[in-house]
């Protein structure tokens, strides 16, 4: 969920208050906000006690490691008896001089810049198709959404088979038209593109359902009015549907960006970063440095870059959604 169900960042979009909270029971008349709620000292104690178990785990496995990552990036990797020593910015200097780091960062940018817009465009197209009066909608929805519930690791195996040179389905299909067989994942010109296709295939159906939900909330009178006015479908989409779907697009965009930095399962299965690092993404490189070469300090340094990217994104999102967020 992998990739299915990425429970990431969905929250902030929701906090933007696109839709009201679910109506549970009858609507209550307005009352003073503190009435009935515990007040005074007991509210402080009860509140913190209730929060405590979750807070302990969050601190131990999210906030502490985030801070420790930054600290470790200024130290050397402990080896044998030698303890970690403070080395200042040496790890960062090594990183700037590391061609594989630049390669992974560049790959990740190409990957994100291809996967994100294509996935969103396809998701939107699928949602509009299914939202219309089309034959066989249940089958269409099923086939678009199914990749979402399958483990990335499993579908990567299927795609590996699909791409295999000679007898893989892709080569067999192209062979009909007289193309020579091709080692899709072994060729540095095609390997990353192959992974991009898998990522798009996996997530388009997932994002489709958010568009579908938004489309179903749109008033059909808008389309009727546009039809009477003689507006073309493209014009209607461009001037009415697309702007109205903007909050959904923003939400999907955030999820898509996060996935493009977070999910590397298919790389582990299909290429292991090769050939010649052409498919190494940032997190994959961190995994290799940290758990293949066991250079934990350098892995921490690379993680800082990834965290900085994500934090930058979080900040932008926070500022962008600022107007509509109300924490109360």
């Amino acid at each position: 969920m992998n990739a299915a169900a990425e429970p990431i960042a969905r929250g902030l979009a929701e906090e933007a208050g696109r839709m009201p909270p679910p109506a549970v029971g009858p609507v209550a008349p307005r009352t003073s906000p503190t009435r009935g709620a515990p007040i005074g000292l007991s509210a402080h104690i009860h509140g913190w006690l209730l929060l405590l178990p979750a807070a302990v785990l969050l601190v131990t496995f999210t906030y502490y490691p985030a801070v420790a990552t930054i600290i470790d990036s200024f130290f050397s990797t402990p080896k044998g008896r030698r303890n970690a020593a403070f080395i200042g910015l040496d790890n960062y200097q090594a990183m700037l001089d590391d061609p594989v780091f630049w390669r992974a960062l560049g790959n990740n940018i190409v990957y994100a810049a291809s996967v994100i817009p294509l996935t969103i465009a396809l998701a939107l197209m699928m949602a509009i198709l299914i939202n219309g009066k089309i034959a066989g909608r249940p089958f269409l929805r099923l086939s678009f959404f199914t990749p979402t519930v399958l483990p990335m690791i499993a579908v990567a195996n299927i795609w590996l088979f699909f791409y295999s040179p000679g007898y893989g389905l892709l080569d067999q299909f192209l062979g009909v038209f007289g193309f020579a067989t091709h080692n899709w994942l072994g060729d540095e010109h095609t390997a990353l593109a192959c992974l991009i296709v898998v990522a798009i295939w996996k997530d388009a159906g997932f994002f489709m359902i958010f568009y579908l939900a938004a489309l179903q909330q749109m008033s059909p009178q808008l389309a009727e009015a546009a039809a009477i006015e003689g507006a073309s479908r493209w014009y209607f989409f461009r001037r009415v549907t697309f702007p109205l779907l903007m909050p959904t697009t923003l939400f999907v965009l955030i999820n898509a960006i996060i996935n493009s930095f977070r999910l590397i399962d298919h790389i582990v299965v299909m290429t292991r970063g090769g050939p010649d690092n052409t498919t190494a993404l940032l997190l994959f490189y961190i995994y290799e440095v940290g758990f293949k070469f066991w250079d934990t300090a350098y892995a921490a340094t690379l993680t800082v870059v990834l965290l900085a990217l994500l934090a930058f994104l979080a900040l932008g999102q926070f500022l962008f959604l600022d107007r509509r967020i109300h924490y109360q």
Binding site: M1, A4, A5, P7, I8, R10, G11, E14, E15, P21, P22, V24, G25, A28, G36, A37, H46, G47, L50, L51, P53, A54, A55, L57, L58, T60, F61, T62, Y63, A66, M125, I134, G136, S143, F144, T146, P147, L150, P151, I153, N157, F161, Y167, L169, Q172, W201, G205, F206, I209, F261, D265, V268, L283, I286, G290, A299, A300, T303, L310, Q317
Partner: protein, 278 residues
Amino acid sequence: MNPIRIGQESGRANAVIEAAGAWLLAALWILPLAYALWAAIHPSAYSAHFIPNAPLTVQNFVTAWNAAPFARYFLNTFLLVTMILATQLVLCTLAAYAFARFAFFGRDIAFIIVLLQLMIMPDVLIVENYRTMSAFGIVDTIPAIGLPYMASAFGIFLLRQTFKGVPRELDEAARVEGAGPLQVLLKVYVPLAKPIYIAYGLVSVSYHWNNFLWPLIVTNSVNTRPLTVGLQIFASTDQGIDWSVITAATLMTSAPLLIAFLLFQQQFVQSFMRAGIR
């Protein structure tokens, strides 16, 4: 012919083209799964040889099942997913209740800090979390796979929103009858949030059933490996690549979620939608 008729005719032609395009896209989308199914239920000689009267077999599934301890992997994944979900439900319910209904000191700051986990997620903190697990001496245990995910900011957020929608009158009525804070939570808030619990549960189960990288890092024995890691080890060992057996194993590991999805399609889609936007 009047212009309106022409408009209708071209509209119909467009609709046909559109339907054809949609079906083509859907066929492409289901193709990898269909392909895997073909390879898994035919002898390996037919795995890339598509003729209608190819003999059917279940041998690939039998071979795969016997070639690796899949029963143990299934058990591990089942334990993992259950443990994570149960803990998540309890911890997130308590924290969400605190955020929704208690005006405690530092609440708003604490809430923003919790939300940070939506962006800075455990999936990228693999290096430090591995170090923590080593320090605790619990590397290669099922709890070690689950611990980083048990306090879920997403779950806290989702339930907080739901709890805030519960009318205060119900809360007060229960308090008047003498219920304490925890009793109010169990008798009033939890029952009203049932659809959200189901939605969150489905999302959490599919996420952790499919999760791969962190379990790969933190496990190294048959007794702890979940299905995803077991499948990867099975598929990548150099025992001669028999695609039919690998696809059979692949389908087998995805089967429980896939079958559940096919049976409760509407529920799945709605849950994902509910958990995503509302």
